[in-house]
Amino acid sequence: MRLGHRLLLGAALFLPPRLTPRRVRDSRHYRTIDQYRFIGWFLAAPLVVYLVFVVSPFVQAFFYSMTDWTGYTAEYTFTGTANYERMWNDDKFWEALRHSLLLLVFAPLITLSLGLFFAFMLNAGGRRRGGQAVAGVAGTRLYKIFYFFPQVLSIAIIAVIWARIYSPRSGVLNEGLSAVGLDSLRQNDWLGGRFAVWCILAVLCWSFVGFYVVLFSAAMSAIPHEIYEASLLDGATRPVTFFRITLPLSWGTVRTGWIYMGIQALDCFALVSIMVPEHGMDVLPSYLYDKAFRDGQAGYATAIGVALFAVTLLFAGLMMRLARRERIEL
């Protein structure tokens, strides 16, 4: 092929089909060129946006975590592992990590258990009609509408509402405790003291239970009725049915859901940042935010980000491993 012709074919990659010269369009390579041109043009915009705003910050983060950058000026020096050593001896970091891990363990456990329980009740808790092995309760759809609603609300709205509920004066929680005669349980500072992380945990679970009820309901309704009928003929009780049939057959969904909930629990920034008063309880993301945008320690903050990333990866890897089971084909 002559060089000129080759250049022309190359140039066609940047021309819209309409403006491509006849000579190129008749070439036997044109189909390939046309296809690559399409692929290139379609991938270009998404890739550029993604590389500039997602990939490059992530890559930079690992670098900045090894500098003493303040974030206020463009100057920084390379300090190697100094930030990580500082982190190792930083009590506040460990406390934030402890809180994050606590949420990471308990939030999926509580939320998914409640989600499974309610979903099973919705799908198999009803009176049987006409010899059905299992039946859903009446009003399943209505229940789901109510349960799912917190999920569509902005996390900021949820945080504002719950901050008022936990409020020491005229908050619903304290007044409610008084109303039922449990004055001794009133707290002056639900969100400031040692209860703070549990209060956050409760809100986190509250807002996600409905999501899992809907998710698990869908998984459970995909289980064929014949299996339930067979187990019922064998005399299986409801709990047995749940643990031997329902749970194993929705295991894939449970595992994915567990990882998703864990990642939500590791975030939790909006709840903590809106609800908890300043200098109160910290989780990893809120500690990172304070270091970066309040204390001017951008380098150290990214090191905390790397730690958060490590925890996320460890958690996801661990879950994939622990929850690996034989896939049951229906």
Partner: protein, 286 residues
């Protein structure tokens, strides 16, 4: 014999039914209670809320709503959110669908690498990128601008959108596409006029998912949109309103502001509840 068996079965079902309903109702109260309480308290004067948090409104007091609307600018924040979303949601859907379609339906070198690059973003917490992202935007002069926020929303919605749509495009039949090629339709024409309409259910699901995700986004605007309070998006505005009312001590106005943010969502959700539920959960099942 068979009758007794039938009877025990029925009683078991009945007991379980009562048991199930009582728990289900209990959680309904827990889930809806706080929201109903806020909606009711929005109609009560501040003094009443403090003296008796559980009381019912004595009448329809709209003052709280007018206060929240004028002093707290809820309308303005809603408008800001809508403007940002009109750009970011369109962009996310368009760019996400384009990338996903090419990855799902074309063979080319680096196909797997591009797919992995996009879906790999799912494993990275936003907080790791937060600090460098702030300076990336600063360098481009996009900090505290709507365009900047729109681009960032698009970029951070792409991993899941691409992940979801790739698997969706792969399930679509190839025969229609082949027929269109034989008829001489161009690649982009096949995409816009044949594949996009065919992919509508998937696009709606992921569209709802992205809409709610971007509408409720809190951390990105908190870091990247700090120029002037007037440009705040709705979640920022609500957080600011809470801080403000903490000092001014007008809980009625706070609840009215929160109610105004809840009610449109409530209406849209109840109208489209089936699509919203599948849209939000579909991604996790795949």
């Amino acid at each position: 014999m068979s009758r007794t068996r039938g009877d025990t079965r029925r009683t078991e079902g009945g007991v379980l039914n009562v048991f199930a309903h009582s728990f289900l109702v209990l959680w309904t109260v827990l889930a809806a209670g706080p929201l109903i309480w806020v909606l009711l308290a929005a109609f009560r004067p501040h003094a009443d809320i403090v003296s008796d948090p559980f009381g019912l409104p004595g009448g329809l007091h709209w003052e709280n709503f007018t206060n929240a609307w004028t002093t707290a600018d809820i309308g303005r924040y809603t408008l800001n959110s809508l403007i940002i979303l009109s750009g970011s949601l369109t962009g996310t859907m368009l760019l996400g669908a384009m990338a996903a379609y090419v990855i799902a339906r074309y063979e080319f070198r680096g196909n797997r690498a591009v797919h992995l690059l996009f879906t790999g973003g799912l494993m990275f917490p936003v907080f790791l990128a937060l600090v460098p992202l702030f300076f990336v935007l600063d360098n481009f002069g996009l900090l505290n601008t709507r365009q900047g926020l729109i681009l960032v929303y698009i970029a951070y919605s792409l991993p899941f959108t691409v992940f979801f749509l790739v698997s969706f495009f792969r399930t679509l039949p190839g025969a229609v596409q082949e027929a269109a090629v034989l008829d001489g339709a161009s690649h982009s024409r096949i995409f816009f006029q044949i594949m996009m309409p065919m992919a509508r259910p998937g696009l709606i699901s992921i569209g709802i998912f992205n809409f709610l995700g971007q509408w409720n986004q809190f951390v990105l605007p908190k870091v990247l949109n700090i120029g002037s309070p007037e440009d705040a998006v709705l979640p920022q505005g609500l957080a600011a309103l809470m801080v403000q009312q903490r000092y001014e001590g007008d809980w009625g106005a706070l609840y009215a502001g929160v109610s105004m943010a809840i009610i449109p969502v409530l209406v849209v959700y109840v109208t489209f509840q089936r699509q919203v539920q599948t849209g939000l959960t579909a991604g996790a099942v795949r």
